[in-house]
Symmetry: C2
Subunit: 408 residues, 2 copies
């Protein structure tokens, strides 16, 4: 499934292959080294380097003397040659980032989701916030490639439409891609939050050790970003990764177990509802307000950290349910790596990660016995907003073998 926006390509396939080779090197590289890593003929590399220099995508980075003969010119990515904007539209917080070509954050800002207002007005607000962020960052507008926006699903990414996310009740069939593009003048890509996070890991994450991994996303909802054979997998309609719909047993692993879906058990909203029912925290006020829920979730965490037994039990149960769903997922997809992140993950990480890891490692329900690497995302900042911006970099800069016409 290809997304519906084709951002302008940067040069031909060979240009992107050369750019990719330069980008993936932390050290400056010579034309000969590029030729060796890419398999491209030296003359092809020469031509590509010339074009990339002219386009401002790479810069000269000194010379290297290798014995007698002419010194070799070295090249590196021109980090400020292009920029990408990323937006994470979460039900609670909207986060904005500007990334440079290396995926480094040049500027960022955030705001609470307006509690009132139609989607059209909120999209105008997003456009204005991006405009301010660009001004504050001082980046050259002509060097901005486009905007990636990540939102809760289900989506129609091919047409850039938010369909009917349970977590965004006022957003029904909203053509966010075209509306945001009209508001800002930039091309826009729409993507699901967990998939955007997986893209950020692929681009920037030191955590990724394998070609196949699941990004476990804990935000207002729960979702998976799926990477198989080094590529994100979006499914037929671009909505893969709906991890909140997995059934899990509620009462541990004994007989007579009850069952419900993970998304109705382990999201902050439902964990808080359980804590309210058990008399551990007060009802959020107003009741369905995401910010109020967040406040009570933090209160529950503070109680658990203070040793409150009931609070600990509620949080442990949420971790156990997540672990059980991950055992199913690992069995179906045979994954070797799970990366955890999302707006709520950092708060629960110390409590959840060792517990989840122990269950996934030792579950009698595991089909395979190989070790599974589990770690928190190493991407600093809002991994989803960063991933949304990486999408833009990815769409314009990555070589795609599928675009290659065989003409040998």
């Amino acid at each position: 499934m290809r997304r519906g926006t084709n951002l302008p390509a940067v040069g031909t396939f060979n240009h992107t292959v050369v750019l990719d080779a330069i980008r993936r090197n932390t050290e400056p590289v010579s034309r000969k080294e590029i030729s060796a890593t890419t398999g491209l003929a030296l003359q092809t590399v020469r031509n590509a380097v010339e074009k990339l220099l002219a386009d401002g995508l790479i810069t000269e980075a000194g010379k290297r003397i290798n014995g007698p003969g002419k010194p070799e010119m070295l090249f590196e990515l021109n980090s400020e040659g292009r920029f990408a904007l990323g937006v994470h539209l979460d039900p609670t917080i909207i986060t904005y980032v500007v990334l440079d070509l290396r995926g480094r954050i040049v500027a960022e800002s955030m705001m609470h989701m307006p509690p009132e207002g139609e989607p059209e007005e909120i999209i105008a607000t997003i456009g204005a916030a991006l405009d301010r962020l660009i001004d504050d960052s001082g980046v050259d507008r002509t060097r901005i490639l486009g905007i990636g926006i990540a939102t809760p699903g289900p989506l129609d990414p091919a047409n850039g439409v938010i369909l009917d996310p349970p977590l965004l009740p006022r957003w029904r069939n909203v053509p966010v891609r075209d509306a945001l593009s009209a508001a800002t003048g930039f091309p826009v890509i729409l993507e699901g939050g967990p998939t955007a996070a997986a893209i950020a890991e692929l681009w920037l994450g030191g955590a990724v050790a394998h070609d196949d991994f699941v990004f476990f996303f804990l935000g207002s909802g729960i979702g998976f970003g799926l990477v198989l054979d080094g590529q994100v997998r979006r499914g037929s309609s671009g909505n893969a990764g709906s991890g909140g719909t997995l059934f899990v047993p509620v009462d541990g692993l004994g007989g007579g177990r009850r069952v419900d879906m993970l998304g109705r058990l382990a999201t902050p909203q439902f964990v808080v509802a359980q804590a309210v029912a058990d008399g551990v925290v007060d009802k959020p006020v107003p009741e369905n307000d995401t910010t109020a829920i967040e406040r009570q979730f933090d209160r529950l965490l503070a109680l658990a950290d203070g040793g409150d037994g009931a609070a600990v039990r509620i949080l442990d149960r949420a971790a156990d349910l997540i672990a059980t769903a991950l055992v199913s997922t690992v069995n179906v997809l045979d994954m070797e790596e799970i990366i955890f992140g999302g707006p709520f993950w950092a708060r629960v990480e110390e409590r959840f990660l060792p517990r989840i890891a122990a269950i996934v490692d030792h579950s009698p329900d595991r089909e395979t016995r190989h070790p599974i690497r589990m770690s928190s995302s190493k991407v600093h900042g809002d991994v989803v907003a960063i991933g949304a911006a990486c999408l833009v970099l990815d769409d314009t800069l990555s070589p795609r073998p599928t675009d290659l016409l065989i003409t040998v």
Copy 2:
């Protein structure tokens, strides 16, 4: 994840591209047409055609007159240019097939799994049975590319080892690939049953309408074959598709639901156990004998067909549990197509398919609302044995873009 056996490749990348173009055409094609579909230069096609003719993989198939000028020579696959052997090692039945290059069955046989005997002896029996089948089929041994063998998992496909399948209790760490290769003199590929079935669908199935599909396998166990972007996905250790490990609610969709894993609820063994517990059929004798279980499963089906309410309820429940697990799967992978098959599927198809389709289509737990195509496999014969042989064809005949070194 690549399998550990590299069968001898048939020519270079371009040769396989040309062969693939000829294979995919039901009608004979000219060199010009091959050049147009593949993007290869006419001279490259000429050279490849010459080599493929010399190797006996294609044959001349008449001429076509296009206006004035020389008539065009046409080519088609030489169906009998090569053959592949397939083995489906099911806990109940072992099935053998010989396929020609088009994937048509040239010969087949089957036998019950010997109730006694060490894996080594059974592998020798398999070797002898293949030997007899080759003799009976009259195919030229020098034209046999190799053997594909599909078994229950978990497996170590990279090393060709059957690890510890619950369904094959005597098979623990059995190096079946090397043992069968030693017994027969042919190269061998080991694969999981549901994945082999998915390969058969990709090669031969008229049923496949989409690039992404799940093959739902109902044999002695339950499993998924996963195809994303037109490729089977085996996961990190080659054991993806363990669908029997998904949790499902047992008692319909009301409150207070109990839960267990699909593989402990909806496989023939457990359906029969339920029917025994409910007094609908007698205990299989001997109790854990797969053939005896099969007999009682057929008895249960016959009772349901005769209108026995208790038998109908037990079977309906199994279908409902499968449907619920498929809703989770479709949500996580965002699939548009499910193909059903496997040794037990044909017997339950009429009863299960409409029921499962209705649940998957209308489930309130579905994340997306797009239609999902659900159908039974159109592959005639044992889809797993055929798929195992198709693996051999696939490994030797399919062009792999990843093997292509970019040297433009």
